[in-house]
């Protein structure tokens, strides 16, 4: 029996879909069986990010309306074994699906897959309720902006009210240079407000844009800072104890000065 993890944020554009695609791919790359559900009905794009757009024939709406079997609606990933996507219907609206129906799909998928990831839409309305209905755990994505943090805080409260207590945080798009200059909220300040466990930090990585546009999740791009961060996050999800590397928040110049002073 696997577990269902909802990936959510409240605010849009902080990297929910990118993170879902990358964590799902990374989990499958380390040998886990993974099913990913796009819960953003009407505005789907997880299939695009994963490069599976042309292979989607059936959607979760077809499963709910019994037009096809759940197994048949799953799209197999092109690159990694044991990675499946259940796409969202683009024709329907979020209130066409009820939380119980999503919960049922989650329950059925977790019988066959070790990890079921649900990509939540932005907002706190019906789409959010659908995405979280079957979740055992949650991952909150936030960027170091006051507005994203505020929304994340709201989401944590809502998840706790639903009885989801295992909530972890991914801090996305952190730029050490900007933190150093005092122009970005630091990791510690974010954790101070949100007060939940940190699952990982994804540094600002311009490679994300190219990978999204090509439909190849970043984790395939070995060695990029973002890819490494997502691989570490996936390993932590599987229970491996991998420390979160401290980002260098001192300047290149002071690093050189430190290096010399250490020698002496």
């Amino acid at each position: 029996m696997g577990k269902v993890i909802v990936i959510t944020s409240g605010k849009g554009g902080v990297g929910k879909t990118t993170s879902t695609a990358n964590i799902g791919t990374a989990l499958a790359m380390i040998g886990k069986t993974v099913a990913i559900i796009d819960a953003d009905v009407g505005l789907r794009n997880l299939d695009v990010v994963m490069g599976l757009e042309s292979r989607v024939v059936f959607t979760s709406m077809d499963v709910i309306d019994k037009r096809c079997e759940l197994e048949k609606a799953l799209v197999k990933d092109r690159r990694v074994e044991d990675l499946m996507l259940l796409a969202a219907s683009q024709r329907n609206r979020k209130d066409d699906i009820k939380p119980e129906q999503m919960k049922d799909i989650c329950e059925r998928l977790k019988e066959d897959y070790e990890y079921v990831l649900v990509d939540s839409p932005a907002g706190i309305e019906q789409g959010f309720h659908n995405a979280t209905a079957g979740a055992d755990e949650a991952i909150i994505i936030t960027t170091p902006d006051v507005s994203a943090i505020r929304d994340a805080d709201r989401i944590i409260g809502l998840l706790q009210n639903q009885g989801i207590d295992f909530i972890n945080l991914i801090l996305n798009r952190l730029s050490p240079t900007l933190v150093r200059k005092g122009n970005m909220i630091s990791k510690n300040d974010v954790l101070d407000i949100l007060n939940i466990d940190l699952l990982g930090i994804v540094p600002e990585d311009t490679g994300v844009i190219a990978s999204t546009n090509r439909g190849v999740p970043l984790v395939h791009n070995d060695g990029s800072p973002g890819a490494d961060a997502y691989m570490r996050i996936a390993r932590r999800i599987t229970g491996q104890n991998i420390p979160i590397p401290e980002m260098r928040e001192d300047s290149f110049f002071s690093q050189i000065v430190n290096w010399f002073s250490r020698k002496n």
Binding site: V146, R150, D151, D153, R154, I156, G157, L158, N161, Q162, G163, D165, D192, I193, N195
Partner: protein, 223 residues
């Protein structure tokens, strides 16, 4: 939320027994019996809190349940959390018995005798209302979170959201926080906000209505 009658959950502050009060008392007690029978270890001597959503049990049934838990299972019931209808945030109905609260009120004119205790962080969008007396919050009040109290407000954490003390019009009410960086403070009918860019000062502070009918903030000495 699932529909089981009773559930036992561990939180940071200890065990909570979550009771569905829509079910009759006898069924609740039966469910408790089944729940405890499934456990390997007896919970003798453990202190627990009871969580309920409205409609809450009537006081007689509640008393009965409390006695039942104490006598049959040797549990110590040390708090009751009643959640608001909206499911947004809990209001604790149990009187504060903690010595830290008593320490706080000594030498200060803070009325904590019948204070209600909230053991959680008030997050954005959540409101805690206590229109019968003071409130003590064991946690933070985050930006977008709101605490409203007829009496005083004590935040044993950072107050970063909005607080309204003396909500029935009491101008002598005060607001105390370990870290006072609110969006806005209200006492009675007075409103004030800190200057833009206010940083935490690193010591507890108290807000009260000063001589010139404005809310003033000063260091909270006695602790």
């Amino acid at each position: 939320m699932d529909n089981s009658i009773v559930k036992l959950r561990g939180y940071k502050d200890g065990l909570h027994l979550i009771v569905n009060p829509k079910i009759s008392l006898s069924e609740i007690e039966l469910a408790i019996q089944e729940l405890f029978a499934k456990m390997n270890q007896p919970l003798t001597g453990t202190s627990i809190q009871i969580d309920m959503r409205p409609p809450v049990l009537n006081p007689e049934d509640f008393k009965h349940l409390e006695t039942h838990l104490t006598e049959t299972y040797n549990l110590v019931v040390n708090g009751v959390n009643i959640f608001e209808e909206s499911g947004e945030s809990p209001i604790l109905a149990a009187p504060a018995t903690h010595s830290i609260a008593t320490d706080l009120s000594q030498g200060q004119n803070i009325d904590l005798d019948n204070a209600q205790v909230v053991r959680q962080t008030i997050r954005s969008g959540q409101t805690t209302r206590c229109l019968s007396g003071s409130v003590i919050i064991y946690g933070d009040v985050n930006p977008g979170g709101e605490v409203i109290s007829a009496g005083d407000i004590v935040v044993l954490g950072a107050l970063r959201g909005t607080a309204h003390a003396g909500a029935n019009g009491g101008l002598t009410s005060v607001i105390v926080a370990m870290e006072l960086v609110p969006l806005q403070l209200q006492i009675g009918s007075y409103v004030n906000r800190p200057p833009v860019g206010q940083k935490p000062r690193g010591y507890p502070e108290i807000a009260r209505v000063g001589a010139e009918d404005i809310i003033i903030v000063e260091e909270f000495i006695k602790f």
